[in-house]
């Protein structure tokens, strides 16, 4: 798995594999593998039971197939469900103790931990393959009573919080991939912000897929207690490989009274090669519950990678006056496919939601916005505004908008606006005449098109995301 993959890494900037020996569970999906995972994570009995319950439920579930992008049948018995860098069993306490190979990998990714610590003030809970290897800024967060740790650690050290909230937004009995995740999830982040605390820094995790043929099953749980605030960043890059890889993460957010959670994602996983061979299947379930009154959850996503992106970060607006937001950029190039959007479920009074979606298609790609705005009978004065813009480059790609609106309350207002446009040759000419080459011009125009969403990203991410927008569309005009 080592050298030849490095050789192939030219096309995809982040396509490299670190040759750290992996500890693996045997291939296949069965009770023994689940017990193996639970055991290696030193989980308490209740957690194993929870996993097995999910596994039993899974036996009666079928994969959904209503989505637009179709994919070849996945053989779940042919996947590895656990793999960890060997050195992780002996946890490092500071950067000097971290495997230098890992540090090197971070550097290639442009995230040297020591520099991040010093310059940007981000606490990074870095997930390398499936185990968290380094957590920084822990002390500062601990002083405020904030818990930011790998979820496996939270299961052992904060069982009361995990028991109360895990699966409370995405139930065990949800759809196939979410339930699969509940059975076999390996690691991820756990965040708890206590009452009245404003998290002093952006919390950030970088996920990477490393060992070959390993499905990644991340699990993230974020709880913002009354009157608290947190901004969480998630960024992904993955090494080059030929075989499709399944990624089925679950992310659950819970905002109590007057709390706010801002969750930002930049997803740049291996999209497959120019002919659509390989690439990640990014089938992710992200859901937030605005459980308390006046609470707010805001999702921002920049999706540029993966062969197939299939996800709907959603908000359940339970508390009165709660607010849900969804800002999305989905870029598909070559043979990439995306079916993404959001669900805004209005249950409480005076709940508000806003959806801004920007889809960009190039090459042979296909991009679908699918969204649900569901206003319950009791959600008086609910308000939704949706804007979906699609940009097409060339004439072999596709853009689709599929909005579902269910409104059961007379006092509510729902607005939906949608546009589809082609990248304008005259605009490109104008930029070229000012000395910008084709790719710079496209980057500029597309960044302008996406501006409303890019503005939502925290500073640290905005720069990276803008570059990514340009990189993702390289070679799309010829």
């Amino acid at each position: 798995m080592k050298q030849q993959e490095l050789e192939k890494s030219k096309e995809y900037k982040y396509g490299f594999t670190t040759d750290i020996e992996s500890v693996r569970a045997p291939k296949g999906l069965n009770e023994d593998v689940i017990k193996f995972i639970s055991n290696i994570k030193k989980e308490p009995e209740w957690m194993l039971k929870w996993r097995l319950k999910a596994f039993n439920r899974l036996k009666n579930l079928k994969e959904p197939n209503w989505q637009k992008p179709k994919y070849p049948k996945i053989d779940y018995q042919d996947l590895y469900y656990y793999s960890a860098p060997k050195s992780a069993s002996d946890k490092p306490k500071n950067l000097n103790e971290v495997d230098p190979k890992l540090i090197e990998t971070y550097k290639k990714l442009g995230i040297p931990l020591e520099e991040q610590k010093r310059l940007s003030g981000i606490a990074v809970d870095a997930v390398f393959d499936s185990v968290s290897v380094a957590t920084t800024f822990k002390d500062e967060l601990t002083k405020k009573g904030i818990i930011f740790c790998p979820i496996s650690e939270a299961i052992r050290n904060h069982p009361e919080l995990v028991k109360k909230y895990l699966g409370s937004v995405i139930p065990l009995t949800d759809h196939y991939f979410a339930t699969l995740n509940s059975a076999v999830f390996t690691d991820g982040s756990f965040v708890y912000i206590p009452e009245g605390v404003r998290c002093p820094m952006e919390l950030s995790t970088y996920f990477r897929i490393n060992a070959s043929e390993t499905g990644q099953f991340e699990r993230t749980l974020i709880i913002a207690d009354k009157g608290s605030y947190v901004s969480y960043l998630e960024g992904c890059t993955a090494p080059m490989r030929d075989e499709n890889q399944l990624h089925a993460a679950n992310v659950e957010l819970i905002a109590l009274d007057d709390a706010e959670i801002k969750y930002s994602t930049v997803q740049n996983w291996y999209p497959g090669d120019k002919d659509g061979v390989g690439g990640i299947y990014n089938f992710v379930t992200k859901r937030g519950a605005c459980r308390g009154k006046n609470s707010k959850i805001s999702w921002t996503q920049v999706e540029t990678g993966s062969a197939i992106t299939w996800k709907y970060p959603s908000c359940i607006l339970q508390g009165d006056n709660s607010v849900g937001e969804f800002y999305s950029i989905a870029i598909t190039n070559n043979h990439q496919k995306a079916d993404t959007g959001t669900k805004m479920i209005h249950l409480g009074k005076n709940t508000k939601s806003k959806i801004i979606s920007k889809g960009i298609s190039a090459g042979y790609a296909d991009n679908t916005y699918r969204g649900l705005v569901d206003i319950n009978k009791k959600a008086s004065n609910a308000r939704n505004y949706t804007q979906c813009d699609s940009l097409l480059m060339g004439n072999k790609c596709g853009a689709h908008t599929v909005p579902y609106i269910k409104n059961k309350n007379y006092s509510s207002i729902v607005e939906h606006e949608a546009t589809t446009s082609k990248i304008n040759e005259e605009q490109l000419y104008y930029c070229n005449q000012r000395g910008l080459n084709q790719e710079e011009a496209i980057g500029l125009i597309v960044n302008g098109f996406c501006k409303e969403v890019l503005q939502q990203l925290p500073m640290e991410f905005a720069v990276e995301a803008q570059k990514l927008v340009g990189i993702s569309l390289e070679g799309s005009v010829g």
Partner: protein, 244 residues
């Protein structure tokens, strides 16, 4: 500076330019006048290298053939076109656009790229020189600009990029007298022995403010008459018909 020999250009198999010859030396200002449909804008587009035309003939810019050179490289070499209809690019900050543009031109010239501070200094200097409110540069590129603002913005860009050769494609159309003066100032203040201009216009009015060295009349894809400044005044009286 620019040598055009027997330039022919067609679009969608329709021939627009039918053998045009023109020679512009460094430091000269040439005006091109002519009736609608005579090929004025096509000439501007073809000189800038716009795609979609079938072009034959010779184009030499500063001793180099332009024939196979793409639009952006021509721009980087110091050829500027002030558009008749400047494009709106939503979401793109005008300052950012200009900075990117200036730096790509500088890079091509082998000069150091400017940081934001140095760039803004140049902007301040040039905009006050032209009497243009630099606030328009904080807005999205040409979005919601009035006709006059768009044209002023083109001239400001010209000043900042400091090209060797500038083409003004009917920059004066639809401008009030104050905006017209701004445009003229943009050209006149840059007139040096090294810089040349090709001013395309319908009206003699602009040439009251920009005194050209030569005036050419373009008709049916060819230059049919060349004179000095007073040719424009003559045309104003007699019209183009008499020439055909």
């Amino acid at each position: 500076m620019l040598e055009i020999k027997n330039l022919k250009a067609s679009i969608n198999s329709k021939q627009i330019l039918k053998g045009l010859n023109l020679s512009i030396k460094p430091g000269e200002v040439h005006a091109i006048m002519g009736p609608n449909g005579s090929g004025k804008s096509t000439l501007a587009n073809v000189l800038s290298g716009k795609n979609g035309y079938e072009v034959s003939g010779e184009l030499n810019f500063k001793g180099e053939s332009l024939n196979e050179i793409p639009v952006e490289v021509r721009a980087q070499k110091g050829l500027f076109l002030a558009f008749q209809y400047p494009l709106e690019i939503p979401g793109v900050n005008t300052n950012n656009f200009l900075k990117t543009s200036l730096n790509s031109v500088r890079k091509a010239r082998g000069e150091k790229e400017l940081d934001t501070l140095a760039f803004l200094k140049i902007v301040k200097e040039k905009s006050s020189e032209l009497g243009i409110d630099e606030k328009i540069l904080a807005r999205q590129l040409n979005v919601g600009f009035s006709g006059g603002e768009k044209k002023k913005n083109e001239i400001l860009q010209m000043k900042i990029l400091d090209p060797y050769f500038s083409i003004l494609d009917e920059t004066d159309s639809g401008l009030d007298i104050d905006a017209l003066k701004t445009v003229a100032k943009g050209v006149n203040s840059s007139r040096t022995k090294q810089k040349s201009f090709l001013v395309i216009t319908h009206y003699q009015r602009l040439l009251d403010y920009i005194k050209p060295d030569f005036v050419h009349v373009l008709s049916d894809g060819k230059i049919v008459k060349t004179g000095c400044g007073d040719l424009a005044q003559e045309l104003e009286k007699t019209g183009y018909k008499k020439l055909n």
